[in-house]
């Protein structure tokens, strides 16, 4: 089955490709953006985006919205993670958290799948902590400062397979793979 992944983020595309191997999917990247609304839920961004994209895209497609929700920062940067990363970087988050002892954070992903106008959402989350310094160079975004609870490494210290095994996006991608494998539209 041919599936378009609409994303400007090359790192996400690599993770999708890795996780969907064996799903008999021919994933094609469409490097375009779509309107993302300001809301405090990833689900809201995805629903609005699919409504807009349905009018523009022919054939099945997926989109992904993810965010890092830090407890002591009231969920910041959350839905605005991409913007906050561009403006403040990892250094900005570490500065905001200077001296904070509660470093709990959750990475969340919501994937939207549209097949013939039928929408599904697949989500995943990963609990962890914000490290004291940046560690590692793989991945993208906030990966160097996030260590999942089940690991001693940050996401940026892992390869794609290791990251997908533990990450929010990996969890959502396993659900996506199952959905695709059981789809009557294959």
């Amino acid at each position: 089955m041919k599936l378009k992944f609409i994303t400007t983020n090359e790192g996400k595309f690599s993770e999708f490709n890795d996780a969907l191997s064996g799903a008999d999917v021919n994933l094609e990247r469409l490097n375009m953006s779509y309107p993302e609304i300001q809301t405090e839920s990833l689900e809201g961004v995805i629903a609005f985006g699919m409504q807009w994209l349905d009018k523009k895209i022919h054939g099945p497609y997926v989109i992904d919205d993810s965010g890092l929700f830090i407890s002591e920062l009231n969920g910041f940067p959350g839905v605005y993670s991409a913007f906050a990363f561009r403006a403040l970087g990892n250094a900005g988050i570490l500065r905001l958290m200077g001296g904070m002892r509660n470093r709990k954070a959750i990475f969340r992903t919501v994937i939207g799948l549209s097949i013939n106008g039928h929408h599904s959402t697949l989500d995943g989350e990963c609990e962890g902590t914000i490290t004291a310094t940046e560690r590692g160079e793989s991945g993208f975004g906030f990966d160097p400062i996030f260590r999942p609870s089940d690991s001693t490494m940050t996401f940026a210290e892992m390869n794609i397979g290791e990251k997908n095994a533990l990450s929010h996006r990996g969890a959502a991608l396993r659900k996506l793979k199952n959905t695709l494998l059981s789809s009557p539209l294959r």
Copy 2:
């Protein structure tokens, strides 16, 4: 003329009312929200909002989108000021800027006016600096940490009239008042 101001922000409504006195406008507040897209320009948010609102609102209306753009933070919080204020507050901005000597910032407003499906935008800006501590209790949002270049006081140390005389929103509101006074639809 009857004009609806669609805003969930009571402080903005007070500033509009103060600045539009003498414009022969009956300003009515509509406490509802509309989709705001994630973009790096206030103009983008306003244009998208008016497109959506045109289908819902009868009669002339205005909306306001404003943001604080801090040089050393690459324009953060900018278009996401309302969200960043809720999550981080003034204390968060001061923490982010700890030790930074360049404290230049610009407050910007874009007002969208829709009359019979015809759209105008009126903008205003105010240069200033981010103070070292919070000062004053008037206004709202980042007012306690922003001191306009032409004043020794922060916005939060001024009354509404003083703030409107110097502020980004006041400048945009003077343009709005002129536009309304010269409108053939009065």
